[in-house]
Amino acid sequence: MPDDRPAPAHPALALDDTVHQRVRLGILTVLSETRECKFATLRDELGLTDGNLNRHLRILEQAELLRVIKGYEGRRPCTWLRLTRQGRAALRAEVAALEQLVSRLRSATAEPEAES
């Protein structure tokens, strides 16, 4: 008798295009470990140029995954970045989807070994 139950969705479908990009995942990961992070620190940590980082930040800010806070340190202008609640949830969901993909890979490689 054929099984009519729908097949479970592939974990790749849970990946979010905005978050999945490698640099943006890095940005969210760094921000998830601090209350706020300076623009220059994030740029150096990820080895990016100002323009490249700015481009990714704009996309994440438009998706309301992070907040850009502009201020001053003495007389020098300074930009701080903070992860929003949605950003934290999006990162968590993305990492969970990636972990599911990896566990599929592990079980797929373990099956032929078990058969042999």
């Binding site: 490698r22 995942l25 990961t29 300076k38 701080w80 990636l98 990896v102 890979l105």
Partner: protein
């Protein structure tokens, strides 16, 4: 999605883990200083007691316990000044430390929660301390209900709350354990009288025989304060050593 994509996912996860660990070590590498400062404050408060390590024949302690623990203090005013000036100074020094670190590293910690919680409970303590005082002699082994809550009007409670808030800000289970330890010792030592009082069930558990009226540990305020500060000192030493190994932390 092919197995190559899944391999790439494993690679990304490894990379994110490395990035997360590095950022965590750098961000929270400064937690050793507030932990050590709180331990120092606790240890310095030993000087507030008349006989911090020696045995007394009789003890009387007034509410609130401005020295911290229910034992004879040198001067209540000195104890009051020590905690109500010392604790805000500690928070000010910690704030300066975190501000300097944030400027140097570009990473901020939620330290205002730590200072806010500690100062808030200290302020609450000052307000609640306006309740009329009462005195209990050393022969009173069974604490009355109002004695228990009045006994909790001690400057050690804001310290315990501040350590728990610091644990949250620094995401540290070690600090959470230290804060819980301080809170438990404070509730036990200040909610009962005399100092180190053991209820009957505890003495029975320790082999004091059934039907016991309870007992008392022969430790003095100095010993208890060392016990309170010890987990903080260990945490500070481990965290400082770990931070030294990471460049630019």
């Amino acid at each position: 999605m092919s197995s190559t994509d899944e391999e790439r996912s494993a690679e990304i996860l490894t990379e994110l883990d490395r990035l997360r660990n590095r950022t965590r070590t750098r961000t929270h590498g400064g937690a050793w200083l507030p932990a050590l400062a709180i331990a120092a404050l606790l240890l310095a408060s030993i000087a507030l007691y008349q006989m911090p390590f020696g045995q007394l024949t009789a003890i009387s302690a007034d509410h609130p316990y401005w020295a911290g623990l229910p034992d004879q203090q040198r001067q209540p005013v000195l104890s009051y000044v020590f905690w109500f000036v010392g604790t805000p100074l500690l928070f000010a020094a910690t704030a300066a430390w975190y501000t300097l670190r944030a400027r140097r590293l570009g990473l901020r910690v939620s330290w205002p929660i730590f200072a806010g919680a500690g100062l808030g409970v200290l302020l609450l303590l000052a307000v609640l301390a306006a309740v009329p005082e009462s005195e209990v002699g050393s022969d009173a082994l069974a604490p009355a209900p109002d004695w228990i809550w009045q006994g909790l009007l001690t400057p050690l409670l804001p310290v315990a709350v501040a350590v728990l808030a610091l644990a949250w800000a620094e995401r540290s289970p070690g600090l959470a354990a230290a804060g819980t330890w301080i809170a438990l010792l404070t509730v036990w030592l200040c909610g009962t009288f005399p100092l180190g009082y053991l209820p009957p069930w505890a003495t029975n558990l320790l082999g004091g025989g059934s039907g016991s009226l309870g007992g008392q540990l022969s430790l003095r305020p100095g010993h208890y304060l060392v016990l309170m500060a010890l987990p903080l000192v260990v945490f500070a030493a481990v965290r400082a050593a770990r931070t030294r190994r990471v460049p630019n932390a």
